[in-house]
């Protein structure tokens, strides 16, 4: 059972990492906790569902959803976050409150437009469940592993091997100095949003496929759990977020299965976070612009 539970934990951990990556990128460059990323996760799952049912293509569902939600991210950055942050002496809680408001609006908008009922992807994979002895690997898990790895590899490439990535890292390091040095910080911020919201959309679709079920409440748990993950990962540190996602996934599975811990599974992320902050306050990997 141990090996099976480890695979279960890594699956859920991968999904957590991808879900929290958007908020990490945005924190890395703007220093705000963008709860609205959970709204992108929700909207992405629904856009993907409609595209899948209209076209029958899950690849198209991923691409269209990531693009639409990514562009929505840029729009929100330009229309809401940038004007708020441009005001002198803006309290750090103001963009957070705006993000909470946007998340609430997105949940209610999805409920009103798409209805409160569950929707099932009913995706048929072209392969059966893999069974090796008593261990099983489900097709949806393979999809999550592979897609998460591809998306994170793309992220690594963009951040480390492109001029835009260099601009992102420079802006994340010190926005004012980057600006003085001629870095286009607006483009760097746009990159954060299109990637961040696009990744969240992909994570939303994967969750919908994994559980064969999406509802307007899909973003509720990620809206707070992603905070624990990005803080644990070192606030704005993409690599730390991947490790933190896996750590939380493993902690949730093993603590809920092997111990009689009297707290809900969703609270375990915060218990891990508190322990980590007591031992290593800077998070798992510290520096926020390390990629």
């Amino acid at each position: 059972m141990f090996l099976q539970q480890l695979i279960n934990a890594l699956t859920i951990g991968s999904l957590y990492a991808l879900t929290a990556m958007g908020a990490t990128l945005i924190y890395g460059i703007l220093g705000i906790l963008d709860i609205a990323n959970a709204g992108a996760y929700l909207v992405g799952a629904y856009v993907g569902w409609y595209v899948y049912y209209a076209t029958g293509s899950i690849v198209l569902a991923f691409l269209v959803s990531m693009l639409v939600v990514g562009l929505l991210g840029i729009f929100l950055q330009r229309a809401i976050y940038s004007p708020i942050l441009a005001k002198p002496r803006t309290l750090s809680i103001i963009p957070l409150v705006a993000a909470v408001g946007l998340f609430t609006i997105s949940s209610d908008a999805v409920r009103l437009i798409c209805g409160p009922n569950s929707k099932a992807y009913n995706l048929k994979f072209p392969m059966e469940v893999i069974r090796v002895g008593k261990v099983t690997i489900q097709p949806a898990w393979l999809m999550i592993f592979v897609l998460t790895a591809i998306l994170l590899a793309i992220l690594w490439f963009i951040l480390n091997k492109t001029k835009l990535g260099l601009a992102w890292r420079a802006t994340a390091g010190d926005r004012e100095i980057a600006l003085v040095c001629g870095v286009n910080t607006n483009n760097a911020m746009a990159l954060s949003y299109i990637l961040g919201y696009g990744f969240a959309a992909a994570a939303g679709i994967m969750t919908g496929i994994l559980y064969n079920n999406i509802t307007p409440a899909l973003g509720e748990v990620p809206s707070y759990k992603m905070l624990a993950i990005i803080v644990l990962g070192g606030l704005g540190n993409p690599l730390g977020t991947v490790i933190a996602g896996l750590v939380i996934g493993i902690a949730e599975v093993f603590l809920s299965v092997y111990t009689k811990i009297p707290i809900p599974k969703d609270a375990i992320a915060f218990v891990v976070l508190i322990i980590m902050l007591l031992v290593k306050p800077e998070g798992l990997l510290g520096r926020r612009n390390k990629v």
Partner: protein, 392 residues
């Protein structure tokens, strides 16, 4: 001068509209029998149940009106959405309780909202029939509160009998939603096993938050525990995920669910993995009773969806009220006496044998089995010692 004339004209118009509006309300109040209704229509985790409940309430009112209403007086449905929120339920209860034009109320909601609303109605002297809430505190609120279905403890005690005698289980894993719905039933289930089936062991037991979508690791652990039956006390979304994981992990373990898994949405989410699911519920789709088959036919025609126990229970709650109103009018005390003394009343969810002193309906527990993506008859638990909660 013009301004003054305009002011006078507008004032007269306002007074006239007030008179017309007030007159309309008074007229409506006298010409219809209003029944208050609430259900979790917009709650994402309960929306399928909310939809079934509201549809069935509308169907019940539509059909009674098509057949001449209550002794010639049409019925008017006043429906509100509690969103599965206890604060909203309390506000709805206060609104209905303070509205003298509401003759009685039907709850189409879960235990949480219903048990918050029940004492408010009792205090205000308003009669309420709960359709399917399982918590004993609902009818425990007072003598004006009735339930047309059995409480959770009855269903779970019946489930223990089904598990031990019909499914021949000896080692049971329990996965339950950590709410009143789950804990009430798990406690009654284990109590029955300990009392009458000491050879049956509970080898695994885990509660889950209603917000938790992931059942993978719990099902893995249940499978590794050596269980030969999984008792899944969950609402349709989580019950569906338990079934999917049991199927995809290749566990050859039958699953026994509850009325929480009696939903068209479970079949939609779980797909082929729903086949082989046993549930305890109050609705037998294969019952050839005229009322049951008529309800199923009417529901399908009206809403193009499959009916479920939630909808059927709501429909029955209205039938209980209609029967009382047809016989004794809308006086609360008269309706209370009539319902308390009802016997062998035919409903969609079987024969309501009688109401016990707590206001709970006593009726047989149906056991359904999902085959080919449909719920079908598997068995029934009708032992009088089990189905009357007063015996516990």
């Amino acid at each position: 001068m013009m301004k003054k004339a305009l002011s006078i004209t507008l004032s007269l118009l306002m007074i006239l509209s007030l008179v017309v509006f007030t007159g309309h309300v008074a007229e409506a109040a006298n010409d219809t029998i209003k029944i208050g209704f609430f259900a979790p229509v917009t709650a994402p985790s309960a929306a399928a149940d909310g939809e079934s409940a509201l549809n069935s309430a509308k169907l019940a009112v539509k059909l009674v009106n098509e057949n001449g209403g209550i002794n010639g007086t049409p019925v008017e449905l006043v429906d509100l959405d509690d969103g599965l929120d206890t604060t909203a339920a309390a506000n709805i209860a206060e609104k209905f309780a303070g509205d003298n034009s509401i003759a009685a109320v039907v709850s189409g909601s879960y235990s949480g909202p219903t048990k918050v609303a029940a004492p408010i109605f009792q205090e205000a002297g308003k009669l309420m029939v709960s359709a399917y809430a399982v918590h004993p505190d609902v009818t425990g609120a007072g003598d004006l509160i009735f339930s047309q279905s059995f409480p959770g403890a009855v269903q779970a005690t019946g489930a223990a009998v089904v598990a031990a005698e019909q499914l021949k289980a000896t080692k049971i894993a329990i996965i339950y939603v950590d709410l009143d719905f789950g804990t009430t039933q798990v406690n009654a289930f284990k109590a029955k096993l300990e009392k009458d089936y000491p050879n049956v062991q509970v080898v695994y037991e885990q509660g889950v938050s209603i917000k938790d979508s992931d059942m993978t690791s719990l099902v893995t652990a249940a499978g590794a525990s050596g269980a030969d039956l999984i008792y899944s006390v969950n609402y349709y979304e989580q019950a569906a995920e338990v079934l999917r994981q049991v199927g995809m992990q290749g566990l050859n373990i039958p699953v026994l669910g509850t009325e929480g898994a009696d939903s068209w949405m479970l079949l939609e989410i779980a797909q082929e993995y729903a086949n082989g699911l046993y549930i305890t519920t109050n609705m037998n789709r294969d019952d050839q009773n005229e009322q049951t088959q008529a309800y199923i036919k009417n529901y399908r025609e009206e809403f193009n969806k499959e009916p479920d126990m939630v909808g059927a229970s709501v429909y029955d709650a209205f039938q209980v009220l209609f029967e009382a109103m047809k016989n004794v009018g809308t006086d609360t005390q008269a309706m209370k006496e009539f319902i308390a003394n009802m016997k062998n009343f035919d409903t969609v969810t079987g024969t309501l044998l009688y109401y016990n002193a707590e206001g709970s309906a006593v009726k047989p527990i149906q056991v359904q089995l999902v085959t080919n993506g449909e719920y079908h008859y598997f068995g029934v638990v009708d032992d009088a010692q089990i189905i009357d909660p007063a015996n516990y």
